[in-house]
Structures are given as structure tokens and as C-alpha cells.
Amino acid sequence: MTEDNQTGRYGTYGGQFIPETLMSEIERITAAYNHYKADPEFLKEFHDLLNNYANRPSLLYFAEQMTADLGGAQIYFKREDLNHTGAHKINNVIGQALLAKRMGKTRLIAETGAGQHGVATATIAALFNMDCEVFMGKEDTDRQRLNVYRMELLGAKVHAVTTGTQVLKDAVTATMQEWTRRVDDTFYVMGSAVGPYPFPQMVHDFQSVISKEAKQQLLQETGKLPDAVVACVGGGSNAIGSFADFIDDPSVKLYGVEAAGDGVDTDRTAATIERGSDGIFHGMKSIFLQDKHGQIDKVYSISAGLDYPGIGPEHAALAKSGRAEYVGITDAESVDAFEYIAKTEGIIAAVESCHAVAYVEKLAPTMRKDQIIICTISGRGDKDVASIAKYRGVDINE
């Protein structure tokens, strides 16, 4: 048996590269998840919460103005921004928290970068009346005090992580450390399709509601499958959810859009697949931005949610097999797209999502008018208005 065809592999990627202290717990989680994912009661409660709490199904919105303006393929937006708490993150968090509850856990921990996943986790913890502690790089708590306060309002305790580079990857590390410290009553709610197996698979499954709905909605409206699906990729939860139900439809092209920051060829980038190399980190074998020795890079993007040096192992595998294509979009392109979609469709979309929108702006004109693109708007952009203003040199301090 070689390293590459063991449990939890996506081709050569995946695995469970975590401290022994956590392995028994990972085994319990795997067993519990394998049980509950086929348990009708569990699935019923999950879907009930998706529909009656997270506000699903989310709209599949025909972007008529943008379609006309770009003059190519018909553009549909899958509107995860309309979910309760404003992003796709909630889908996954509901699933994991429900599993935690079923496993008898009373305490949720989570890492967060800008705060999206932390807010989603704190939200469900409030609803489920569970304890919640969120780890966030000190640099991020300083930049995002409002989100810190938001989590506190929801009853969570937020820890500023002062180790390492004090950003998202350090928050992940700190959360894993906290988990090794106290594993009995605690569930680590993973924020993206990353980490040791079975997390990438759980996140895949919980987020696949995006593509399942989108497929059904589009079939109902047009009788057709899309020709392309476009989604932004940080750790890859939104993208894997957007791709999942189309992976076996070979006519559907899949595009994952990474944050290129200042450019894929610069040092200020977060374009993992274009720029990174194979590695083993945060519990998984995947692709990472790292130096030749394997030290993990500090990455950069205007979008805090895409600012992660790795990518989920399933994406690494999809990239390797060629089933999905991964492209980079710069800060400048995403800010342009942020403004473009606001002005044409009246939608203020997350700057993360606007990376996907920017790619649609390039892709649609190259396609025929009878072709269809589904682009996932993974979150709403209210959180980004201040930083866009700053990017444009507008003073919005109140």
C-alpha cells in the first residue's frame, strides 16, 4: 500500500496528516459521519435547517443586464449571498454542528480569517446553545474588530492568535492546537474543504446543496445543463459545492477562480494552484504556496476569504486530472468586477465572489448566446465596501 491510495484520498491528495492526539477523535468523527450521512433523521434535520434557518433554496438569478452587456453566454448567479449570515459558509457549519451535536459535543471551535466562518459558527452555536470559541490571527482581529464584536454578540469567545504571521493559517494552527488540548467535548468546525479526511468530504457533501439546487433550478427554467460553472476558490468549499453535482456531467466545464493578488507572477498572491506545489500541511496532502524547502508562504489577496496558502485536496485532484480548470484573478480585476456587478445588477457581492464574476466577464464573450454559465455568488459584499473605498482612495472613516 503506498501513501497515495489510503483512506480519504482524492487521487494522490488528501489523507489525515494530524497529530496522534487527534487520531482517535478523527476515527470517531469518520465513523459518526459515515453513520449520519445515511441517516434519514439526520438528513431531514439538516435540510430542515438549510431551508428554515439558512433560507435555502438560494435563488438562481438570471443576470439579464450583464448577459446583454457582455453579449455572449447567458449568465446565471447562484445567490449564496442571500443565505442567512450572507454567505455559503452557513451550509457547511449547519452540517458540522449538527454532527457535533449528535456526537454529544457541547463546544464548537473554529478558525476564521476575516470572520465569515467565525460568524457562521457563532451563529449556529447560538442557535444550538453550544459554547463557541473562535481563533483569529491578531492581525485579523485588529483589522476586523467589527466581526470580532459580531461573534461576541452571538455569544462566542474570540481568541487573538499572536503566533506565527498572525493571520488565517496561524489561526488554523491555533485551532488545531486547541483541539489537541481539549478534544473530549469539543468539535473543530472546519471552515473550508480542507484539513484531514473526513473534513474535505463532509464539507463537499454539506456544500453540494449549491450545485444540486442550481442544477434542478436551471433544468426547470431552461431544460438544459450549464455549459460552465464558475466559482471562487479559497480553501474551496464554495467551489466544491458549486461543482459537486456537475462533476459527472462531462459537458459542464468547471472553473475555479483563485485570488492572484497583485498577479500570479508576483510574491503578493494567493493563487495556490497556478503558483504552488505539492505539500503536506494542515492535515492534508494538497497544493500549497511554499518555498522550496517546504516552509509555508504568507499569502496575499484583497479578499480575506481567499487569503489561504492551500487548497482542498479534491480541488488539487480535479486540477491534476484536468476535470476542472483553475485561473487567477487579480485584486484590480476583482475590484472592477465588484463595481461592475453593483452598477449593472444592483448586487453588492463579496469581493471573494467578484473574483468569479471577473472571470465570467472574460469567459462569457467567448461563448455562444445559447450557452449558459452558472457563477456562484458565494457571499454578500457589504463587509467589503470599506476596503473597496480604501482601494479606490476614498476616505470613508466616520
Partner: protein, 258 residues
Amino acid sequence: MSNLKQVFTDEKAFIAFVVAGDPNFDATVDHIVALAEGGADIVEIGLPFSDPVADGPVIQEADLRAFAAGANTDKVFDLVAAVRQRTQVPLVFLTYLNLIFKYGYDAFCAKCAELGVSGLVIPDMPYEERAGLAPYADQHGVDLVPLITPTSGDRIAKIAKAATGFIYVVSSLGITGTRDEIQTDLGSLVSQIKAVTDIPTAIGFGVHTPDQAAALGQVADGVIVGSAIVKLIAEHGDQAAPYLKQYAHEMKAALPAK
């Protein structure tokens, strides 16, 4: 398989940890020599990683000092070569799997063999993920020292059976760092290990005083000290050698006889 197991034959072993390059490479050579002179039976050299998931703040800060001194895998191998000019104390590396993966499993193990590094402690490589590295480690005679923790439960048997060199028994949940009290029933943990293997055991995570060494030496075949040594280095910088020698001496002396 290396000579590590032999270390434990006649005496309880004292295993000392330093971070390579903390606060600089010349100092680390001195520190390792001093520890060996003081009585350390094995020196565990930390090859610093940017994101050390198993390490507490004391070792993380040492890593940062080492990075500031230019630490990387090549430099650490150079360091070992320099150490080998002055002492033949058994050495193991503690590092994270990505650094080994990037260097190449085969090349890394070959290099270890060449420089006389006997084993590897890799906190983020659990039993299930040994398969990639193990054939190369075997081939080059480098031990893969596994960790067994208070949560290992019915995983103990399979881990212990596959172990070579020694077994790193983690005293407590959580990350590295000194602890005044260790709650785990280590006696029971070690006997579960002993029930399936005769590979020696050494207890680490939180150990720092001679009293602890004396007590834990009753339970296992050795003790491992990391953060306490790194703290001495943090305090005395490149002048730490005499303190380390003295500390190693006290710890070794406190260990019970076999």
C-alpha cells in the same frame, strides 16, 4: 533500523531537544555538545517549520529565532555535519512532514543516514500516514519514532508494533510546553505499550524538573525535555552551553537506575 534502541539498554535515557539555529548555528553546535557532555543520551534536533502544529509558544519563538538566523533544511544538515565533528551522541530530528516531503523522502533519509541521524519524530505523521515515508526510512536505517498519546486507546497496539528506535509517549493532551502537573495515568499507558512491544519508551511534553525525571523514569525508559531547555537558550542565548550542560547533568542524575 538504527542503534537508537541500544541507548536504552543499560540506563534510563535523558533526551534533550534544541531548535536548530536558535539563536544561531554555531551556538546550536555548542549547545548540542554541552548537552551531550552533561549526560544527554539522545539529542533531538528541531528542524523548524513555519507552522508547527504540535508546538507551544516557547518552541514557536525558538523557531522564529532560528528562521531569523537563516534556518532551512540544507542549513540544518550542515549543522549536523558540524556537530558530528565534535560528538557522536545519537541524534534524531523533530520536524513536520512537509519539510521531508519537499526534500524528497529518499534523499532526506539518505542524508540522515550519511550524517548519523538515527531517527525522525514527525508529529503530523500518524500511523496511517507512515506508508509514504517508511520504505525509505527502512532502506536507510532511519527509525520512525512514533508518538503515543493519552487518547491513542486501541490504536496503541498497532502503533507500538510498527515502532522502531523508541516510542515517544506524550504525557498530556495539547501542545509542547512545560507543565507542573501531569494528569495522565502514564503507568497504565506505558504498560499497554509494553504489552505489545519491547521497544523503549520515553515520556515527553511538559517534563522539566529533576523530580519529574525521577518519577517518570520509574514509569518509562527515558524522558524527553524540550521547552525547559529552549527556555534556557532563550534566556542565555549563545552563552547557554554551561547552563545546558549543568541542566542535562541534573536531569540525567535524577533518573533512576535501570
